[in-house]
């Protein structure tokens, strides 16, 4: 079981993440925008952050860079659209652990979480 923060503005995808990860036994919080995401990230303790790159009020990569600058080392999987894959280099530079391309298969999501999430003590 891992504690997972999903920062994702689309309610449908947020629901899929919550539902799917809960079914696999994880504890999931979904923040619908950058402001709520920052607050949740800083106030909670997370084993993995799923971070949408394009948020209505913020650039996901900027949030990631801020957190890394504060010394936060939580594993982060970026959620990207296919056209955004070529930011691979810059996402790694910003401190992402991996990225998952939309549309993603449920089993790929579970595989990414299993691979990267810290085990909750």
């Amino acid at each position: 079981m891992s504690r997972i923060l999903a920062i994702e503005d689309d309610a449908g995808i947020g629901a899929v993440l919550r539902r799917g990860l809960a079914l696999a036994g994880h504890e999931v919080s979904v923040a619908p925008d950058g402001t709520a995401g920052r607050r949740a990230w800083n106030t909670g303790k997370w084993d993995l952050v799923l971070l949408d790159v394009m948020l209505p009020d913020a650039d996901g990569l900027e949030i990631l860079a801020e957190q890394r600058a504060r010394g936060d080392s939580t594993p982060v999987v970026l959620l990207t659209a296919r056209e955004e894959v070529d930011l691979g280099g810059s996402s790694l530079a910003a401190g992402a652990t991996d990225h998952l391309r939309k549309p993603f298969a449920y089993e790929d999501l579970l595989a990414h979480v299993d691979r990267h999430a810290r085990r909750a003590g």
Binding site: G12, I13, A15, V16, E83, P103, Y106
Partner: protein
């Protein structure tokens, strides 16, 4: 080319023809001015020559004749002065005879000049010669037979002779006056001819100036019109490019936006499948997963086609061992053909490192293989032949199906075109496979061709030339495109 462009081009043609005609007219005008100048010059020259040769010469000769008459009279009268003795008369008669001979010479000259003249209004030469002859006939015997004792008879003869001489003088005066008149009218004619020539030349010069000016204005107008047309065409082309870009952007945006709901749809179906073990909804959920996957692929293909319409094809080119790439593609093709219930016969020859997008090339070849398996006879053979060299690669995919009807061969690469619509849809086709394949091959700078005949099967052939590494965008073979 639009109708509007054609019309503009035709207008341009008319304008060019007008300009050429105007220039030709100008040249003809210049030639006419030259010819008229020459004619006027010749006419003035003729008139001057005639005047100098005859009219002015006539006046001169008449003058000379009068002078000769006066000389004769002077020497005639000399003989009458002082005491009239035989010695005096005989001595002076010699000089008088000389003057008379001079008078005769003048008459001969005049006779010669008369030969080239219009004699109307002039005393005739015969008249003149008669008068001179009568004068001489009266006086010469009196001179030669002079007798100092018969002075009176001599004086009578002299008086009669002088009367004849006066008649001759008066005739000479008439010729002089007529000559003067003729010379004056010749000068007037020269003036008139010169004036006419100058006027004609001035009219022509002004005319040509007007034509030249008009031509200049026409050329300026034409240039301005052409600039305007070029600007309009440029604007139209830009607008067209903007519309095309907007269309591409729209398709790209729409495809992108479709992805999120597709992810949600598929994710929920998959979660439902994971939750509902043994429940009757499994089949329905699996169908939703399959169809949303298919729709995702379609959305990806649409996005690829939209981007192929822009200047740079959306390919991730990398230097690859093309023989290896083709063998990997053949292995995938084998799986695909088996799924369709057919067999694969394959052959890959040659080795070379070529610049290509391996994933997209595979997509293109598999589209052809899938079509061959779908349209070939059930359980038939699909033949895939690949050849690689440093010049490029060739892949042909053949089936033994019914072939493509002749009228439809050109349309099979059109988007959403299907040869047998019902059958193709049953076989799961979307109608954009060949469009995608062609966009991929053309993105590699290659061509895709088709050989087919009714009942004799269909063979599609991809030919892609080797591309210099500097020509394409080079990505690392392990790039994110995989």
């Amino acid at each position: 080319m639009t109708d509007d462009t054609v019309r503009r081009r035709q207008r341009g043609d008319v304008r060019w023809r007008t300009a050429v005609a105007a220039i030709a007219g100008l040249l003809v005008g210049i030639a006419v001015v030259g010819v008229v100048g020459i004619v006027v010059n010749r006419s003035v020259h003729d008139i001057v020559e005639r005047a100098v040769t005859y009219d002015i010469e006539l006046e001169d000769n008449a003058d000379d004749l009068r002078v000769a008459v006066l000389d004769v009279r002077h020497y005639h009268r000399n003989m009458l002065f002082d005491d009239l003795t035989e010695a005096v008369v005989a001595q002076r008669a010699g000089s008088w005879e000389e003057r008379y001979e001079e008078l005769q010479r003048q008459l001969d000259e005049l006779a010669e000049l008369y030969g080239g003249l219009d004699p109307t209004g002039l005393p005739s030469i015969a008249e003149l010669q008669d008068a001179a002859q009568r004068y001489h006939d009266h006086f010469a015997p009196a001179v030669s037979e002079f007798d100092a004792d018969r002075v009176t008879a001599f004086q009578n003869a002299s008086d009669r002779a002088l009367e004849e001489l006066s008649r001759l003088e008066s005739l000479a005066a008439d010729i002089d006056v007529a000559g003067e008149r003729r010379a004056a009218s010749a000068f007037a004619e020269i003036d008139a001819a010169t004036t006419t020539g100058i006027v004609a030349l001035l009219v022509l010069v002004v005319g040509i100036g007007a034509v030249g000016g008009g031509l200049g204005v026409a050329v300026l107008r034409m240039l301005r019109e052409q600039r305007r047309v070029a600007a309009a065409e440029h604007a139209a082309a830009r607008q067209l490019a903007e519309v095309a870009q907007a269309k591409t952007d729209f398709i790209a945006d729409a495809s992108h936006e479709l992805r999120t709901p597709l992810t949600v749809l598929r994710g929920n179906a998959e979660i439902g499948l994971a939750m509902s073990d043994g429940c009757g909804h499994g089949e329905i959920l699996r169908e939703i997963v399959d169809q949303s996957s298919r729709m995702s692929r379609l959305v990806d293909d649409l996005l690829f086609l939209a981007r192929s319409d822009t200047a740079t094809p959306p390919l991730e080119l990398a230097e690859e061992d093309a023989g290896d790439v083709l063998r990997r593609i053949v292995a995938r093709a084998e799986v695909l053909v088996h799924e369709r219930g057919a067999r694969l016969a394959s052959d890959v020859t040659g080795e070379a490192v070529l610049l290509l997008d391996a994933a997209r090339l595979e997509q293109a070849v598999l589209i052809l293989v899938d079509n061959a398996a779908k349209y070939g006879p059930p359980g038939g053979t699909v033949e895939v032949r690949g050849d690689v060299s440093e010049h490029g690669l060739t892949v042909s995919v053949g089936d033994h199906g019914p072939g493509i009807p002749e009228g439809e061969v050109e349309r099979i690469f059109d988007r959403f075109y299907r040869v047998r619509r019902d059958r193709a849809r049953r076989a799961g086709g979307t109608g954009i496979g060949l469009s995608i394949a062609r966009a991929i091959v053309e993105g590699h700078g290659g061509t895709i061709s088709v050989r087919t005949a009714a009942g004799a099967g269909t063979t599609m052939e991809i030919r892609a030339p080797a591309r210099l590494a500097s020509e394409g965008r080079v990505a690392s073979p392990s790039g994110a495109a995989s």
